[in-house]
C-alpha cells in the first residue's frame, strides 16, 4: 500500500467516523453533488448565489465595523455626536477601516441590485408558480427583512439623512388610526428620534434581523432543494427521469454550477471592486451627500430622499394624495366588479363585494396619508400573492403570449420611473417639461394594475405550448 493510499484510507475512516455521528456526506450529496439542477440555466440564474455572496460580505464586514462603531448620540468633546464621529474614525484612523466600511455600504446597494434582478428572474420564468410558492414566500420575507436591515442600518452613521429618514419612516406608522401616534413613540422609544432610537436600531441591525435573515435564507434553500429549481423554460425536469431516478435534464449542482457561480462571483467582484475603489458614494445614490453632515434635529436638509432602493415604494407613498383616492376607488370597483362577473362561486362573489365595499368606505373615511402608508407596504407584499394571481397555463415568459411580455415590460418601466422620481424633490419635472407628480400617479396605478388584473390577463394571453424537455443549445 502506497503512502497516498494510506492517507486516503485514513481520510475515509475519519469521514466515516463523522458520518456515523452527523449526516455530512448525505447533506453534501443532497445539496451539492447529487442536487440536480436544470441544465438550461442562463444569465438570470446567477443572482441567487451572488445574493449569498453579498450576504457573506455584509456579515463579515459588519462584524469588523461593530468592533469600532459606537451607537451613541451624545456629543463628544468636540461637539460631534459620538456615533457620527466613530464612523469618521473608522474612515480616517482605523487601519483598513475605510475599505471595510465601503465594502459594507457598497454591499448594501449591491444586495438590492442583485435581489431585484433575482426577483425579476422569478417574474420572467414564473419561478413562484406551484410547487414553488413557499420558496417565493420565504423570498418575499427575506426581501422585507432586507429592507428592514437597510433602514435600521441607515440610522447608524447618525448623519442628516440617517436622522431625518428615520423620522419620516417612523412617523409613517403614526398615520395608522387610533394606535398610530403611540406606536411611533413605541418604535422610537422617545418622542423624537434620539439615542434610544439609535441603540435599538443598532440592536436590530446587528443581531435581530441578521438572525432572522439567516433562518429565512436557510428555509428558502431547503424549500428550493425540496421542489427543485425552475428553469427558463418553466418545465419540471423531475417529470422525465432516467432509470436511476435522476432527471434527464438535470446536472449535479457541484461541480457544474459551483464552477459557473464561482466564475460569475469573480466577474461580480471585479465590478464591485471598481465601485468600492473608484465610486464608493455611487454619485450620491449609495451614500447620500447630506449624510456626511451630523444629524441636526432642528433642521431638515433642503432635499431629502431615501436611498435609491426604497424610492419606487416611496414614490407610491408620495403619489397617494387625496385626489389619487378617486383613482384607487375606481380601481377597487373595477377589480371587485370583474371578480363578481367572472366567478361562479357565490362565496367569492360575496367576498369580492364585501372587500370592495370595505375598501371604498376606507378610502372615503381615512386620510390619504394612511392609504399612502398602506400602499407603500402593500406594494411590496403584493409580490407574495403572485403564485395565486398568475392563472396562465404556462410558467415561462417564453411560452406566455405577447400580452404578458408587454404587461411585464410596462411594469418594469413603471417601477424604474417610480424609482427615479422617488430620488427627486417634489415638483420635479422630466427635462423641466413633464411634471413628475402625474407621472408618479400613472406609474403607481400601472404598478398596482400589474397585480390586480393578473388573474384576467394571464388567462386571456395567447400562450404557446410548453416543450416536453428543456430547450438547450
Amino acid at each position: 500500500m502506497s503512502q497516498m493510499d494510506t492517507l486516503l484510507d485514513k481520510g475515509k475512516q475519519a469521514l466515516g467516523w463523522v458520518d456515523e455521528r452527523f449526516p455530512l456526506t448525505s447533506l453534501y450529496k443532497a445539496h451539492l453533488s447529487e442536487y440536480y439542477a436544470p441544465k438550461n440555466f442562463n444569465f438570470w440564474y446567477f443572482f441567487g448565489s451572488l445574493a449569498l455572496l453579498v450576504l457573506v460580505n455584509q456579515i463579515v464586514t459588519g462584524i469588523f465595523l461593530v468592533m469600532h462603531y459606537k451607537p451613541d448620540a451624545a456629543l463628544n468633546a468636540a461637539g460631534v455626536p459620538v456615533a457620527f464621529a466613530s464612523v469618521e474614525y473608522i474612515m480616517r484612523d482605523v487601519p483598513g477601516g475605510w475599505i471595510i466600511r465601503y465594502l459594507h455600504s457598497t454591499g448594501a446597494s449591491a444586495f438590492f441590485i442583485v435581489v431585484y434582478l433575482h426577483m425579476f428572474r422569478g417574474l420572467l420564468y414564473g419561478s413562484y408558480r406551484k410547487p414553488r410558492e413557499l420558496v417565493w414566500l420565504f423570498g418575499i420575507a427575506i426581501f422585507l427583512c432586507l429592507m428592514g436591515e437597510a433602514f435600521f442600518g441607515y440610522l447608524l452613521p447618525w448623519g442628516q439623512m440617517s436622522g431625518w429618514g428615520a423620522q419620516v419612516i417612523v412617523n409613517l406608522f403614526a398615520a395608522i388610526p387610533v394606535i398610530g401616534p403611540d406606536l411611533s413613540i413605541f418604535i422610537r422609544g422617545d418622542f423624537v428620534v434620539s439615542d434610544a432610537t439609535l441603540n435599538r436600531f443598532f440592536a436590530f441591525h446587528v443581531i435581530a434581523i441578521p438572525l432572522v435573515l439567516l433562518g429565512l435564507v436557510t428555509a428558502h434553500l431547503i424549500a428550493l432543494h425540496e421542489v427543485g429549481s425552475n428553469n427558463p423554460d418553466g418545465v419540471e425536469i423531475k417529470k422525465k427521469k432516467d432509470t436511476n431516478g435522476i432527471p434527464l435534464d438535470g446536472i449535479p449542482f457541484h461541480p457544474y454550477y459551483t464552477v459557473k457561480d464561482g466564475f460569475v462571483a469573480v466577474v461580480f467582484l471585479m465590478v464591485f471592486s471598481v465601485v468600492v475603489f473608484f465610486a464608493p458614494e455611487g454619485g450620491g445614490y449609495f451614500l447620500e451627500y447630506n449624510n456626511f453632515v451630523p444629524y441636526d434635529a432642528l433642521q431638515t436638509p433642503p432635499h431629502i430622499a431615501p436611498v435609491w432602493y426604497f424610492t419606487p415604494f416611496y414614490s407610491i407613498l408620495r403619489a397617494t394624495t387625496s385626489n389619487f383616492m378617486w383613482v384607487l376607488g375606481a380601481l377597487a370597483l373595477i377589480v371587485g366588479g370583474l371578480t363578481v362577473v367572472s366567478t361562479k362561486s357565490k362565496n367569492v362573489k360575496a367576498l369580492a363585494v364585501g372587500v370592495t365595499a370595505i375598501l371604498l368606505a376606507g378610502f372615503a373615511l381615512l386620510d390619504a396619508k394612511v392609504w399612502g402608508v398602506v400602499l407603500m407596504g402593500g406594494s411590496v407584499m403584493l409580490f407574495g400573492l403572485l403564485p395565486w394571481l398568475d392563472q396562465s397555463p404556462v410558467k415561462s415568459v417564453r411560452y406566455k403570449g405577447v400580452l404578458y411580455a408587454s404587461v411585464l415590460s410596462v411594469f418594469v418601466v413603471a417601477f424604474v420611473l417610480l424609482g427615479i422620481l422617488g430620488t427627486k424633490a417634489p415638483g420635479y419635472a422630466f427635462f423641466g417639461l413633464i411634471p413628475g407628480e402625474p407621472v408618479a400617479a400613472v406609474c403607481s396605478v400601472l404598478y398596482l394594475a400589474f397585480f390586480a388584473f393578473m388573474p384576467w390577463y394571464s388567462r386571456m394571453d395567447a400562450t404557446k405550448p410548453e416543450p416536453e424537455r428543456v430547450t438547450w443549445k
Binding site: W164, Q167, V168, N171, L172, I185, F186, I187, R188, G189, D190, F191, V192, S194, A196, R200, A297, L298, Q299, T300, P301, P302, H303, I304, R318, T321, S322, N323, D367, K369, A425, P426, G427
Partner: protein, 210 residues
C-alpha cells in the same frame, strides 16, 4: 400515514384515540399556564420599548431671549428635542395672513394643536411673534423658511410667504397654517408658552390667567 396512528419503535402501532383523557386535560392546562407565563415574561421586553423615565422627564421648559431678534427674522430653539420657531413678524407679514386665508385648509385652526390662549389668524399671544413647533404635521420634517413673497420665492406668483417642507412639499403660511390639498393634514402645532417680560419668553409653560 393516517394521523391517528403513531409508529412506536417496536413496530407496533396504537391509536391515539385511547389516550387517557385526564392526561390530555392536564396537558392542555399545562400548555395554557405555560402560555400565560410566556406572555408575562414577554411583558418587560415589550415594556422596555417605551420611552424611559429619563426620556419622559426631559421636557423642561426653555427660556428664550427675544431682544436680539429683528423684525422679519426667525430664531430656532430646541424644546423636548424638537425645533421651536420664533418669527418676529413685520406688519407686511401679518398682512399676508389675510391674503393666504382663501388658500388654507383650516384657516380658523379648528383642528390644530394649540393652546386656548392663541386665537385668530395670527395664532399668537402677541401678533408680532409667531411661536410654533417647526415639524411638518405630515411626516415630521422641519419645513424651510420661505419668507419672500411672490415669484422670487420660486414657489409661485401667488406665494404669500411662509414655510415649505423639503420632504413632501407641504406649504404653510406665516402663522403655520397649512395650505389646501397638501400632504400635511393640519396646521403646525403651537406649544404652550408664556411671556415673562417683553423680551423674555418661556416655551413649555402655559400662560396663566392671560
Amino acid at each position: 400515514m393516517s394521523n391517528d396512528k403513531l409508529e412506536v419503535s417496536g413496530g407496533a402501532s396504537f391509536s391515539c384515540n385511547c389516550a387517557d383523557s385526564s392526561r390530555r386535560q392536564l396537558m392542555a392546562a399545562t400548555a395554557a399556564v405555560g402560555g400565560a407565563v410566556g406572555v408575562g415574561v414577554a411583558a418587560p421586553f415589550v415594556a422596555s420599548f417605551l420611552p424611559s423615565e429619563r426620556a419622559k422627564a426631559a421636557g423642561a421648559p426653555v427660556e428664550v431671549d427675544l431682544s436680539g431678534l429683528q423684525p422679519g427674522e426667525m430664531k430656532t430653539v430646541e424644546w423636548r428635542g424638537k425645533p421651536v420657531w420664533i418669527v418676529r413678524r413685520t406688519p407686511e407679514m401679518l398682512e399676508s395672513l389675510k391674503k393666504s386665508e382663501a388658500m388654507l385648509a383650516d384657516p380658523g385652526s379648528s383642528r390644530a394643536e394649540q393652546p386656548d390662549y392663541v386665537k385668530g389668524a395670527g395664532r399668537a399671544i402677541k401678533d408680532e411673534y409667531l411661536v410654533c413647533v417647526g415639524l411638518c404635521t405630515h411626516l415630521g420634517c422641519s419645513p424651510s423658511a420661505k419668507f419672500k413673497p411672490g415669484a422670487e420665492s420660486g414657489i409661485g406668483d401667488d406665494w404669500p410667504g411662509g414655510f415649505l417642507c423639503p420632504c413632501h412639499g407641504s406649504r404653510f403660511d406665516l402663522a403655520g397654517r397649512v395650505f389646501k390639498s397638501m400632504p400635511a393634514p393640519d396646521n403646525l402645532p403651537i406649544p404652550p408658552h408664556t411671556y415673562v417680560s417683553d423680551t423674555r419668553l418661556i416655551i413649555g409653560e402655559d400662560t396663566k390667567g392671560a
